[in-house]
């Protein structure tokens, strides 16, 4: 039953409609036929009773003389007339005292008869047979009894006929019902099938201009209308979205173009500025060299003509000129860093740092600084530029630990400020974190030249180098306890190094 229901549920709607109509027809037909058979049955019993009563009465009446004159032979002959009825099996006449008088048996039948009248108040059915006893009356007087026994073959014949008719009817009605329902179900299922096809097409082709055709004014018509409305709404929404997308794309293009324009403008402005500062710096050197050179000649060759104050002034002139020269050198370096495009190659940062430290040691061999370099740090970058950056960072560390009794400088990789980065740590003077944002500006100094010498261009240069490599630089520090400078060269490599 469950399997049947499951299969029924899986049928397409057209199948369900056909099944329902055919099933209904079959049920109706069976009910009608059942009723017909019941009716036939009661009719048959009544007819049987009528027929047997008639036969018994007629035979009885025809046997009155035989009964009266005790002529068994004549009575037997009269009874023999029953042979014309195929269904009468046996019959018997009993005289007025109830003794067997004459009898009839259908040919080929063996049967014994009761010697006295069977007591049967009415037609009795048993074992597919019907039996009846009638009183033979002549001129108002009972002169005997007539017994008659019949098979119910007629009923079976009728039933067989009925079944024949019913089966022909069932086949005919079911085929007609199937044909009609196959034809009729299309009225219901065609719009649904069309709607389903349309839905599938809309889903595949994304064409929201498609519309279903309304064919009826029933619920299906309403469904088609609703579906069309929905398609309209979706189509409208899609058009809006597409228009918005186009606008957005255009806006994007415009924006990109504007960015490109601005970048180009900026770049050209920057180039002009760099060219200008380079030429300025370069051109400033010649007069500066002249100032320094002639001041030295004055001191060397004409110092006798000058008093102590004059010599001191000249010495100050020379120092200022030299300082200015250093400034110009740094500015040129900065400009060069800005102008050159970094060449990416494999770098051994640890080795580079070691070399820089060696050169610092050779310049100031009196210092005793503990150096701690993590070996094997590798990176991608421009060797010359990264060397400049390390020179500046390690140089700063060297410089700002000058006043420490136990100076210590570290180079390694770590996580700082939530990012994996290389770092340079020292335990030197440090700075106030309040001014951390000024660290990397050119000519910005947190210490006086008297405290620690410098031009204020070094960290600006480092920042430019790091940025050229696509990295970042930042610092943490506590006054008199030391600083840490973190930098990355490229995001991925810094992470790999950590």
């Amino acid at each position: 039953m469950g399997g049947f229901l499951y299969r029924l549920r899986r049928l397409p709607i057209s199948g369900k409609v056909v099944f329902m109509m055919c099933g209904l027809s079959a049920i109706k037909l069976l009910l009608i036929c059942g009723g017909l058979i019941l009716y036939e049955r009661s009719t048959f019993e009544r007819q049987m009773e009528q027929k047997l009563t008639l036969l018994a009465d007629v035979i009885g009446l025809n046997s009155t003389a035989a009964l009266a004159f005790n002529d068994t032979g004549a009575a037997t002959e009269t009874l023999a007339a029953l042979s014309s009825d195929d269904h009468v099996m046996a019959a018997a006449l009993y005289d007025v005292r109830g003794h067997l008088f004459a009898r009839y048996l259908r040919r080929g039948l063996e049967r014994s008869f009761a010697d006295s009248v069977p007591i049967l108040p009415q037609l009795t059915f048993s074992d597919g047979q019907a039996e009846l006893v009638r009183t033979v009356v002549f001129k108002g007087q009972s002169i005997g009894k007539m017994y008659i026994l019949s098979d119910t073959g007629e009923w079976h014949d009728a039933l067989r006929g009925l079944f024949g008719i019913v089966s022909v009817l069932v086949v005919a009605v079911l085929s007609v019902a199937a044909l009609i329902s196959v034809w009729m179900q299309r009225v219901v299922t065609d719009p649904i099938t069309e709607l389903v096809d349309l839905m599938r097409r809309v889903g595949q082709e994304r064409d929201y201009r498609l519309r279903a055709t309304k064919k009826s004014d029933d619920e299906l018509g309403v469904l088609v209308d609703g579906f069309n409305d929905m398609l309209g709404e979706i189509g409208k929404g899609r058009i809006d979205i597409e228009r918005a997308q186009v606008e957005l794309r255009q806006l994007n293009l415009q924006l990109e173009q504007r960015v490109l324009d601005r970048t180009a403008q900026l770049e050209s402005a920057n180039k002009e500025l760099e060219a200008f500062s380079y030429s300025v710096s370069h051109d400033l050197r010649a007069p500066l060299r002249a100032i320094d050179g002639f001041s030295r000649i004055l001191l060397d060759e004409h110092s006798a003509k000058l008093d102590e104050s004059g010599r001191d002034s000249l010495a100050r002139v020379r120092r200022a000129a030299q300082r200015m020269g250093a400034l110009i050198d740094d500015l040129l370096k900065l400009a060069r860093v800005t102008r050159t495009e970094p060449v990416h190659e494999k770098l051994d940062l640890s080795a580079l740092a070691q070399e820089v430290i060696e050169s610092l040691r050779s310049q100031d061999s009196a210092r005793n600084v503990r150096i701690d370099i993590t070996p094997g740090l590798k990176a991608q970058g421009d060797a010359a530029l990264v060397r400049v950056a390390l020179e500046n960072l390690l140089g700063n560390a060297w410089k700002f630990t000058a006043k420490c009794s136990e100076a210590r400088i570290e180079f390694g990789a770590a996580v700082g400020g939530g990012t994996a980065a290389y770092f340079v740590r020292d335990n030197g003077a440090g700075f106030d974190m309040q001014y951390a944002n000024k660290l990397f500006g050119a000519f910005q100094r947190l210490h006086t030249v008297e405290e620690f010498p410098g031009t204020g261009i070094g960290l600006a240069t480092v920042q430019r180098i790091v940025r050229k490599h696509g990295g970042r630089i930042w610092a943490e520090s506590t006054v008199n306890q030391g600083s840490v400078f973190y930098f990355t060269l490229a995001q991925d490599e810094a992470r790999a190094a950590a």
Binding site: T64, A65, F69, N70, A74, V96, K139, S142
Partner: protein, 177 residues
Amino acid sequence: MQPGSGKRRAAVGVAVALVSVLWASFAYPQTSALEYQVKASYLYNFVRFVTWPSDVFGRDGAFQLCVVGAERFGAALAPIAGERVEGREIVIRRLDQSAQARAAHCHLLFIAEGAEAAGIVAERGMLVVGETPGFLSRGGMINLIETQGRIRFEINQPVAQQAGLVFSSRLLELSKR
């Protein structure tokens, strides 16, 4: 006939008695007393199976059953006397000779063997029954004869028709063929 359950029951009783007699005759046909009991019941049945013209009955409506040579029946006719057929009471009349029958207004005249008159004149409304071989050729209407130990009867219908008597076809069928 007055419709009454008592009378009907009585009639059924008589019929039962008659048939039982008949049954007995069946078993012992050689006994002459039984033979006449059977014959008496036959006479009674003839009254039932033959139709008389209605105008032959008197005011009282009685059925005159006359017997010539009645001594042969003994008491066999007693059960019939007073019996009613279609509302008519059967009255037994014993006659010395058949010539008295007309005066006696007999409806049925039984002439015992040996009592036949030389010529039987057919009377309207009178059924003449005999028991002598050749009785029919001498003007009799029904003749009782014994065949193979059984009592049968033969009928001379044309004579009966002249007398205005109508025989039931079933009676005719039973007559000796």
